[in-house]
Symmetry: C2
Subunit: 323 residues, 2 copies
């Protein structure tokens, strides 16, 4: 953390410029931290743009009132386009990773020659299309451990946690990652830098690929119901994710599955983000969270029959929901 | 087929007496055939008793009008009790096999010293509790291939098929099975006698254990949607059922899975009985159709990871439905 970031309001001219694409609950939360940390924060916020332009974000949080007014609010990425200039210092992409969304094409208009791209998104193998489309741009992969939800247009409730694990994709910690983590820390929530961010992505996926789809297929069940109903199945699913991670060159420590189950058991019952999306009729991140794991397993011929069954059923269920 | 059964109406005094317990669509359909075949048919029909007593069953069928009036209609099995006598010649049990129903206790009041028990029910290992409770009674295991549904109290629409595969449990074809098949044939639909009825039960289970739970977890999807969505998963599930059947001493011919998938592909799209139960909020035969297969696999340590995943999810889904 530099002295600059400790006195952000006095240094507006030198403030890094951040553009957040997809400012839902998670995007707005990290936008608020970056704003507190001294960044100039602009957002692309489709449905909430009008409200946010008029009133800013209202963000209730255990950290205090994180409400803030972005410097600029755009309805589209085109409206935030660089016009050929250097672009924002950071473009933070915090949209859901869905099949029918070309994320690289989405952000292209706003990626300038000086822009580092920051992904705050769930899933496995989600960096590759961005890295391929912008080979020159520093690419920071971020994994959010945060409970936050949008309660109304422009209104976000930060419920718990908030840690962002981040590092360069595919590995290492470059200067852009360091500066971004320092901004977060100045904003009140230290980021955790890692030089093996893909390993960290697999670590989170061990939980996500099991609990998220299972909660949907169980009709929107919460964590406690899943654990009480079939902990052995959760364990089998999580172990298969570990097997795939190892085959991909990201071995995870042996007791991860048991520790993860134990910590979930100790938490209050809660519904996964995919269960909430499902219950609200929103599209699911099926491929990012589960499909890409199954495809990685197929590349290595790692047996994942439990995950494969879960995946087939989740796709069928999602198709029925969409129909 | 005997000459007696060809002229049933002239032989009422010698007519075998049949009591049907659980006269829903399937029970009423076979009751109608037995009636046409010359049997005296009594029924225990809880919710429909009043209507059936007043008006009989109205049964529309491709076979013609199968409507009939049972000789007696009871609301409970107790009301049909033997009072210590020989009891009916056949007690046909056609209720769903559900966890919270003790089927042996249900029928006990009406099983007499001369009664053969006929099960017309789905699932695996469903005979054992009945065989244990009534070791003296001939036990006929029947597997119905019939499309029939209850359209209103006392009203049944027979849609298609109707074959009953039957034989003595655990194997063989005794005189009671022969006579029962002859009654059905006299009624217009030949039963198919088998001396390995448990093998036949496994054969039907290959389809049922895959399609029924999958249709529920896919949100009530029909056969065509399941095949289009994930035929490889259906194939894996069906192959695992074959593996368990073989471990149980009931090897099934190699091309069964492919042939079964092909014939389903050739049929019009339809919803499984479990999907219909699920969509109507009725309890599911989870254990009879899938749980007992998984437990058989565990006895033989036959790997069934796809079935095991399906089973865990179906139990969770059913629990959510019931909640």
């Amino acid at each position: 953390m530099t002295s600059d970031s400790q006195t952000p309001l006095e240094k507006t001219t030198a403030a890094p410029r951040v553009l957040i694409v997809g400012a839902g609950a998670v995007g707005a939360f990290y936008g608020a931290l970056l704003h507190r940390g001294g960044a100039t924060v602009e957002v692309v916020a489709r449905s909430d743009a009008e409200v946010v332009r008029a009133e800013g974000y209202r963000i209730d949080s255990p950290l205090g009132d994180l409400s803030f007014r972005p410097t600029a609010v755009y309805e589209t990425v085109d409206a935030a386009a660089t016009g050929g200039g250097g672009g924002p210092d950071y473009l933070v992409l915090a949209v859901k990773v869905l099949d029918d969304l070309d994320r690289a094409a989405l952000i292209a208009p706003a990626v300038g020659s000086a822009t580092a791209i920051v992904l705050i998104e769930n899933g496995i193998d989600i960096e590759a299309p961005i890295a391929a489309a912008f080979p020159q741009a520093p690419l920071i992969s971020g994994i959010a451990f945060v409970g936050a939800r949008r309660t109304a247009p422009g209104c976000v409730q930060h419920q718990a946690f908030g840690r962002l694990v981040l590092g360069d994709y595919p590995r290492g910690i470059g200067p852009a990652s360091h500066r971004f983590a320092a901004l977060l820390e100045a904003g009140g929530m230290a980021g955790k830098l890692t030089d093996e961010v893909v390993t960290e992505r697999w670590r989170k996926c061990v939980w996500n690929a099991a609990f998220n789809p299972m909660s949907v297929l169980a009709g929107g069940a919460d964590t406690r119901r899943l654990l009480a109903g079939d902990e052995p199945l959760l364990r089998s699913l999580m172990q298969e994710v570990c097997d795939v991670a190892a085959a991909e060159g990201h071995p995870l420590p042996e007791p991860l599955v048991s520790a993860s189950l134990a910590s979930t058991r100790d938490m209050p019952a809660y519904k996964t983000s995919m269960a909430l999306d499902f219950l609200a009729g929103r599209p699911l991140e099926t491929e990012a969270i589960l499909g890409n794991v199954v495809r990685a397993a197929e590349r290595h011929t790692t047996p994942v029959p439990h995950l494969r069954t879960l995946y087939g059923l989740l796709r069928l269920r999602a198709a029925a929901q969409a129909a």
